[in-house]
């Protein structure tokens, strides 16, 4: 019936009932004091007191019941929260591992692309150079062609002048022939003149010799000129061929140049494209790295969530203690804890349960609880967390204190004690956490301070082989120079 009440409403009811009871008992006391003689009044007073006490008891029972309901819901929620946060931790880890792997792949891809990009860049540069060279070649071929044309013309001129020379040579040849005949005539005339013509005959002979030599020279020259002419004809043919070849080179280099230009633009475009891909990949790289980081963060947030759910559990225990008192705590907490312990399948050993029980049984007794300062030190960090609970405990305490001040003192001392031994349970629970997630951050491990009994448990061993592996480092085994 009180299920829907909030915490403050319950508190308000408790205060009201206490006030009501106090008021009635006060009134009855006063009446009793004034009218002690009348038995009916005494009876009435007694009845009033009994009724009021009954009402108070009824109300407080109702309140307790509702608080218990709330507490059981709280317990369920905190348990759900615990398992949920465990799941979150595992998923977060998986996500983190996955994204780390992906990030590695993408980083390699990125570097590969960079290498390709730099190679394409070089290709572009080379193509550009080749393009320039091809253009130069084309220019040279053009020049060669023009020069070849000039040479062809010169050759033609040479041929013409050679023909002219051969004509002149023929004239010289004719002159030599005629001179020869003239010298013969002169010799005949000299013989007819007798002694007087003797000297002239000698001259005529010399002239004839000269004419013959001239004729010979003209003949030789004519032969040379003729071969010259045929040579220059050949030259013309060859020059024509060269000119044609040069034209071919010209055309080809033009094509090469065009192709190179295309290659150059293509590789430039490729370079731009690959740079774009590269940018995208490096963005992906960043995002993936970020994802890995975020996943890691959410994994550790989930771990934090776990500790909060543990805190919640502890608050619930405190409240249970306040509502039901020490004896019932014993009944209530032990089963829940052992149930929890059972849930964490790994802890099956009877030892552990036995260990927990005496500690919790000892909740109300001071002597048993404060045995070792060592344990206290270990519990220190958890104690800090219990500080958070304290104010809440104080709040509830205040309410109760109104009702029974003397009890409040007792309760206070009990809660103080309760904080310690319960905190003791924490390492055990934390331990179970470690088992579930073998990869718990190593930085946290020392804080947990595993108890000696728990250490040799078979389940905890799981992460251990890795540790032993780590001690056997490959660099420690054999030096490389055996190869």
């Amino acid at each position: 019936m009180f299920n829907g009440f909030s915490k403050s409403q319950i508190g308000f009811r408790i205060i009201l009932s206490i006030l009501f009871v106090e008021l009635i008992s006060l009134a009855s006391g006063v009446i009793m004091g004034l009218n002690i003689k009348s038995p009916t009044i005494i009876a009435a007073c007694l009845l009033t007191i009994i009724i009021s006490q009954l009402i108070a008891w009824f109300i407080s029972e109702n309140v307790k019941k509702s608080v218990r309901n709330v507490l059981s819901e709280l317990a369920e929620t905190s348990e759900n929260l615990g398992s949920l946060s465990n799941e979150l931790t595992v998923t977060g880890r998986k996500l983190a591992d996955g994204s780390t792997e992906q990030a590695a792949s993408i980083q390699e891809t990125s570097s590969t692309l960079e290498e390709s990009s730099s190679m394409i860049h070089q290709t572009t540069q080379n193509t550009k150079e080749a393009e320039i060279l091809a253009k130069q070649t084309k220019q040279s071929a053009d020049n060669g062609n023009v020069e070849m044309q000039t040479m062809l013309e010169a050759m033609e001129e040479l041929k013409k002048s050679s023909t002219e020379i051969s004509k002149i040579i023929r004239v010289i040849d004719e002159i030599a022939f005629q001179t020869n005949i003239l010298s013969l005539n002169a010799a005949v005339e000299a013989a007819r003149a007798g002694d007087a013509g003797k000297g002239f005959a000698v001259v005529a002979e010399e002239v004839r010799n000269l004419a013959q030599r001239s004729a010979q020279a003209a003949k030789d020259t004519a032969g040379i000129i003729e071969s010259n002419i045929s040579l220059s004809e050949k030259c013309l043919d060859i020059s024509n061929q060269v000119s044609k070849s040069l034209e071919g080179i010209n055309n080809d280099t033009h094509k090469v140049s065009e192709l190179l230009e295309e290659i150059s633009t293509a590789s430039q475009e490729q370079e731009i494209g690959i740079n774009q891909i590269n940018k995208a990949i490096s963005q992906m790289e960043h995002v993936l790295q970020g994802n890995a980081l975020t996943a890691q963060e959410s994994a550790s947030s989930a771990e934090h969530l776990n500790t909060y759910s543990n805190t919640l559990k502890k608050i619930k225990e405190e409240l249970t203690y306040l509502v039901d008192g020490g004896k019932e705590v014993e009944k209530r907490i032990i089963p829940t804890i052992s149930r929890e312990v059972e849930v964490k399948k790994e802890i099956k050993s009877q030892k552990l349960e036995v260990k927990i029980k005496p500690e919790i049984k000892s909740v109300p007794k001071v002597e048993e609880v404060k045995p070792k300062t060592e344990v206290k030190q270990k519990v220190e960090p958890i104690k800090l967390k219990t500080e958070e609970i304290k104010p809440k405990v104080e709040e509830v305490k205040k309410v109760k204190a109104e009702e029974v001040k003397s009890k409040a003192e007792e309760v206070k001392s009990k809660t103080e004690e309760a904080v310690e031994p319960k905190a003791e349970i924490k390492p055990e629970k934390e331990e179970t956490k470690v088992e579930e997630k073998p990869k718990t951050e190593e930085a946290e491990k020392p804080k947990l301070e595993l108890k000696p009994q728990i250490q040799p448990k078979p389940v905890v061993k799981k992460p251990l082989p890795k540790d032993t592996d780590k001690s056997v480092r490959p660099e420690d085994i054999i030096p490389l120079d055996d190869f």
Binding site: A104, Q107, E108, E115, M119, A443, P474, P479, F483
Partner: protein
């Protein structure tokens, strides 16, 4: 959770450290990524101050924790992308030319071994692929002797364990899986027969090479993409020196030696040969 920021001067210091000690060249455009990685590492190590972390990494390791942190650092900074039968045409090339390789190998002639070096083996897939290939194609009288090295202790550890999960990116056929692996839950363990062919060692490629005998084949794929031209040239020179006559160097498919000076003869794309 506090957000860890790494000041630029420390980023530069880390980059310099990586270049000097591992040859890894980090361009300015990649420094952001380095910062992210460092932040993650520092968060894991529980160190918030970049300076403190830098000194932790740079100084010679004295404690176990420092050793561990340094290993983690190397493991995170370097990239461990690898797969079985990755860039398969190299393995096909070896298969095609195996008789010539054996013919020209000095070690095959004198010690009946084919000496192969997987110089950046990461988690061992490349080396094991080579070992499986050798088992398939080598004549009975030649044994494969494979050295696999990497800079990351964590990777070497994983390689030595030899336990893998096959994903869609693994090019390995069922034939090899069935023949050389045993299933272990969702994972596959490589057989001892293959494991025994491979020796795993920790080795930093920028350090001097200590090898006594020449190799017949060197794999150095997708490593030089992280180095600059100076380190690449030096490394390729060192590879040339430790290769035997007519030995082969295989590089990654995006890589080429055209931009650096070297003595190798180009054989086919990404395959180079010593004269």
């Amino acid at each position: 959770m506090p957000i860890i920021t790494i000041e630029k001067n420390y980023l530069d210091l880390f980059s310099e450290y990586l270049y000097k000690n591992m040859g890894i060249y980090i361009e300015d455009s990649k420094k952001n990524l380095l910062a992210q990685k460092l932040a993650k590492l520092m968060q894991e190590a529980g160190i918030e101050n970049a300076g403190e972390y830098y000194h932790f990494i740079v100084s010679p390791p004295i404690s176990e924790r420092q050793k561990e942190l340094k290993n983690k650092f190397i493991d995170t900074i370097t990239v461990h992308k690898t797969n079985f039968f990755r860039e398969n045409n190299h393995f096909e090339f070896i298969q095609r030319n195996i008789s010539e390789i054996i013919e020209t190998s000095q070690s095959a002639k004198f010690t009946n071994e084919l000496r192969i070096w997987s110089s950046a083996c990461s988690t061992g897939e490349e080396a094991y692929t080579l070992a499986m290939l050798c088992k398939e194609i080598l004549p009975a009288n030649v044994r494969p002797k494979i050295l696999a090295t990497d800079i990351s202790p964590d990777s070497i550890r994983k390689a030595m364990e030899g336990i893998y999960k096959f994903g869609p990116e693994d090019n390995i056929t069922n034939y090899y899986i069935n023949k050389y692996f045993t299933k272990n839950g969702t994972q596959w363990a490589i057989s001892d027969e293959i494991k025994n062919c491979v020796t795993f060692r920790l080795f930093n490629l920028v350090e001097p090479f200590p090898f006594k005998n020449p190799f017949d084949i060197i794999f150095c794929r997708n490593v030089m993409i992280y180095f600059d031209k100076i380190v690449q040239e030096k490394l390729v020179g060192n590879f040339y020196n430790v290769l035997g006559k007519k030995g082969f160097l295989f590089i990654g498919h995006s890589e080429s030696l055209i931009q650096i000076k070297h003595q190798f003869t180009y054989h086919e794309p990404t395959v180079y040969r010593k004269n």
